[in-house]
């Protein structure tokens, strides 16, 4: 558990006369409820984002390092000169360097101060480092013991120099290992802190759109479930991690199975055979694998089994062997017939091959064309990225009024459109993503083209081999025809040699087929074992914890004025889909639970997130204790609901809640209410909250 004591931001500007002349802000936070209230665009979100940034959670805002922060902290800000002035006029300050300090305290009353640079003035000040001082913010000086830890790097969650590793120790939680598909060394990674914090820090824009909406992707399997399992300390987390690993192994086996099945079809094509009874899905039945057999087509309508085919060939050889070597004269008639037949076969095959090769060449040409298209698209994408960078770095200093000084004709960067015809075009970014999707299509086309070409190349090889055999036979036949009648017939010898070769090939084929079958049996064994392991996993006993969590969540939900559905229709689902999340069921026995988001009005869904987040803290044994809500009054929330929320969290005196809220903002509901701060805190106990009211100024001002 931890809480935030103090937040301080220091900015050195171009108008600072000395380096002590600092701008920024400083706020103190208490245990219990803290309310930061102010009109729109006073800087509430700036304060909030600084808290995220200081503890290395800026990824939840959608960016690494200071990209997630407002420009007022790293670029320029304005301080109004005239208070009554409604316009945004005032003095412009440009930021030279800036940093944020955050004082936090854990439940052992250890106080530390975190320092992180937002905009550094030299290369040594890295945004990806957080410096930790073992003292309070006020007592900070150069003597203080400190340590530097990094964020946003490889291994930042488990490296001893990583900030998150330190942070988990400080807030005294032990993060579990979970299965992770991104991990290169093992199949596991720690449950990342950023994932856990997405259940506690609800950010203004995306945070209210879904449960744990801002969770970054790290490759953890079923990430949201894992976070809930961890927070509620469910037994399931270890079992489910084990299950994920087994499942991954299982998928691997199934993948290999299909690869092996594919190998059958290659083998088929190489040998012009037909392999039948190949099981299409993975099976553990040995008989089914044993049924795989091959057959050969000998005539248009006659197919024979492998063994028979092989036997025929061997028989033919023995017939030839037993026959005394015939002279040509005795055999002439037959040789002539054979010669004619072989000639026709040869010609047919030859023309077929030529046609086949032509088609194949066209496909190869296609590949060349598409490859060159791909490279030109890639080049275009590169240039787009470059030009976007040119603009984002402001390399063309401020663009002037784009009008021709002589004829006042408007000049734009669009050079296709003319005065009369305007051609709508995609912007650079849009065009880049368009090109990227085009690139993906081309890549997938290329991939499938490559695989068909490879297949056809194999076929061609087979055809050409056959053709060569035909050629040799034909040659020997023709030699026999022109040779002396008394000589011995050569064609029979050739025929015998060819037959022997064929038999050799067939034996090879049989061996390959058996090998593949053996592979399948091995895979089936593995598959069987993994299934036994999966079935053998214990059933977790989390029912009690989940029931308590569910009833607390529902109490909270209805106390906030949820009325989209009746109480019995809402429950926390304990199995897929939406495991551990609220679902809507029409009746008790409804087997198709639906997402509560779809079945609630927009404001009721926001109430859902309030209730869910708070219930996670109430029931979460491993919860770090702090909750931050940015602008909970979303959509058509009623003022009475907000009052209920404030009341609930103000009663929680031992845990810190920080709520940022607008005031005088119309709530946009039927009663035309506004968020009235006095109304909100009217009924709260006097000392049960800490109010920070932002005045009419922007939050950044001269620090004293």
């Amino acid at each position: 558990m931890f809480k935030i004591n103090k937040l301080r931001v220091e900015i050195l500007t171009d108008k600072s006369k000395t380096i002590d002349d600092l701008y920024g802000f400083e706020f103190t936070f208490n245990q219990g409820l803290n309310i930061i209230a102010g009109e729109n665009s006073r800087g509430k979100t700036t304060i909030n984002s600084c808290i995220f940034y200081a503890i290395g959670m800026e990824e939840l805002l959608g960016g690494h390092n200071n990209k997630a922060l407002d420009k007022a902290l790293k670029d320029t800000f304005v301080i109004k000169t005239d208070e009554t002035d409604e316009e945004e006029t005032g003095i412009n300050y440009s930021v030279k360097r800036s940093k944020v300090f955050l004082e936090i305290e854990n439940d052992k009353n250890e106080i530390v101060c975190l320092e992180r640079v937002i905009l550094g003035s030299d290369g040594d000040e890295k945004q990806s480092n957080i410096t930790i001082y073992k003292t309070e913010l006020e007592k900070l000086d150069s003597e203080t013991v400190k340590g530097v830890f990094f964020v946003n790097g490889r291994g930042n969650n488990d490296d001893p120099n990583g900030f998150y590793e330190w942070f988990t120790h400080f807030i005294n939680i032990t993060v579990p290992e979970v299965s992770n598909s991104n991990s290169k060394t093992s199949n596991y990674s720690p449950l990342y802190l950023q994932m856990i914090f997405s259940s506690m820090f609800i950010e203004q824009t995306k945070g209210w759109s879904e449960f744990l909406a801002t969770m970054p992707y790290f490759g953890v399997t079923k990430p949201k479930e894992k976070v809930i399992e961890f927070l509620l300390d469910l037994e399931e987390i270890d079992i489910s991690t084990q299950r994920d690993t087994y499942n991954k192994e299982k998928n691997n086996i199934v993948d290999n199975w299909f690869k092996t099945i594919k190998a059958f079809s290659y083998l088929e094509k190489q040998n012009n055979a037909t392999i039948t009874s190949v099981p299409e899905t993975i099976t553990t039945e040995k008989r089914k694998i044993g049924e795989i057999s091959s057959s050969f087509q000998i005539k248009e309508d006659e197919v024979i089994e492998f063994n028979e085919y092989l036997k025929n060939k061997i028989d033919l050889i023995s017939v030839l062997e037993n026959k005394p070597l015939a002279t040509i004269a005795s055999n002439k008639e037959e040789i002539l017939i054979q010669y004619e037949k072989a000639k026709i076969d040869y010609k047919d095959l030859n023309s077929y091959i030529r046609e086949f090769e032509n088609k194949l060449n066209i496909e190869k040409l296609q590949v060349d064309n598409i490859t060159s298209q791909l490279s030109s698209i890639e080049k275009e994408i590169r240039e787009h990225t470059n030009l976007i960078k040119v603009f984002s770095n402001n390399l063309f200093d401020n663009k002037k009024e784009s009008k021709c000084p002589t004829c006042t004709q408007v000049i734009t960067e669009d050079i296709i459109s003319s005065n009369k015809i305007k051609i709508p075009q995609l912007s650079l970014e849009e065009n880049k993503s368009f090109l990227n999707s085009q690139k993906k299509i081309i890549q997938s086309t290329l991939k499938s083209l490559y695989s068909t070409i490879e297949e056809k190349n194999n076929l061609l090889l087979y055809f050409k081999n056959t053709l060569r055999n035909n050629e040799i036979l034909l040659k020997s036949l023709s030699k026999d025809l022109i040779a002396d009648d008394r000589a011995l017939s050569e064609s029979e010898v050739v025929r015998k040699i060819q037959l022997q070769q064929e038999v050799e090939n067939l034996k090879q084929f049989e061996k390959q087929l058996d090998d593949l079958k053996e592979d399948l049996i091995n895979l089936a064994n593995k598959y069987h074992n993994i299934n036994i392991k999966l079935d053998g996993l214990e059933q977790s006993n989390d029912r009690e914890k989940l029931t308590a969590f569910e009833s607390n969540y529902k109490d909270l939900l209805y106390s906030f004025g949820y009325d989209s559905n009746l109480r019995y229709q809402i429950s926390i689902n304990n199995k897929e889909p939406f495991k551990y999340f609220p679902v809507y069921k029409r009746g008790k026995d409804d087997t198709n639970p639906q997402s509560v988001r779809i079945n609630s009005s927009a404001s009721d869904f926001v109430r859902n997130i309030w209730a869910y987040t708070l219930a996670l803290r109430d029931n979460g044994i491993n919860h770090p204790g702090i909750i931050v809500f940015d602008e909970p009054g979303q959509h058509r929330t009623k003022l009475s609901s907000l009052i209920a929320l404030f009341e609930k969290v103000s009663n929680e005196k031992n845990k810190q809640t920080i709520i940022f809220t607008s005031i005088d903002k119309p709530l946009n509901n039927d009663e035309k209410e506004k968020i009235d701060l006095d109304e909100l805190i009217k009924d709260l106990e006097k000392n049960s909250y800490h109010l920070i009211k932002l005045d009419n100024h922007k939050v950044i001002k001269l620090l004293n």
């Binding site: 080049k379 275009e380 590169r382 240039e383 787009h384 470059n386 030009l387 960078k389 040119v390 603009f391 770095n393 390399l395 063309f396 200093d397 663009k399 002037k400 784009s402 009008k403 021709c404 000084p405 000049i411 734009t412 960067e413 669009d414 050079i415 296709i416 051609i423 709508p424 075009q425 995609l426 650079l428 849009e430 065009n431 368009f434 090109l435």
Partner: protein
């Protein structure tokens, strides 16, 4: 009544039609191919044409290193007038009359832009290609231009 609303859908257009992209190329051409920071319109158009594809580039490259002294039929670059206009307005370039012909001169502002683009190592692929062409003597260019061959 049925209301038919026609919605214009934006199309994907090559970066070659982006005026600022062209402006960078233009500045690069004047800077590296022109003499004393000035380039004639003919030279600008010709280099732009050579960047269209590898074959064109080969022709110009051959001309430069003396492998050929002719040109193949080439064409003007589309939309240069608008790019020039932006350049004039933003004061990256200015007009100069040299020997009774109009030449475009790159200003200090323009050179600065190029410098910062190079510092960030952006668009280097095209810029390097232009650098490689470098300066081609005017007389050589004129002679080749009077002597077109089909290939």
């Amino acid at each position: 009544m049925i209301n038919i609303i026609l919605e214009e859908k934006p199309t994907s257009v090559s970066i070659k039609y982006n005026a600022y992209y062209k402006l960078v190329i233009l500045l690069t051409i004047i800077n590296y191919c022109g003499r004393s920071n000035k380039a004639s319109l003919q030279l600008i158009h010709l280099i732009f044409w050579s960047l269209r594809d590898d074959k064109n580039y080969q022709v110009i490259n051959d001309l430069k290193i003396g492998n050929r002294n002719t040109l193949i039929p080439w064409s003007f670059e589309f939309g240069i007038e608008k790019v020039l206009a932006i350049g004039y307005i933003e004061e990256y370039i200015q007009k100069k009359i040299v020997n009774n012909t109009l030449e475009i001169e790159i200003t200090q502002r323009g050179i600065n832009v190029l410098k910062s683009i190079n510092e960030y190592k952006l668009l280097q692929e095209e810029i390097e290609k232009i650098k490689d062409i470098g300066k081609i003597p005017k007389t050589k260019l004129d002679r080749a231009n009077h002597n077109w061959k089909l290939i």
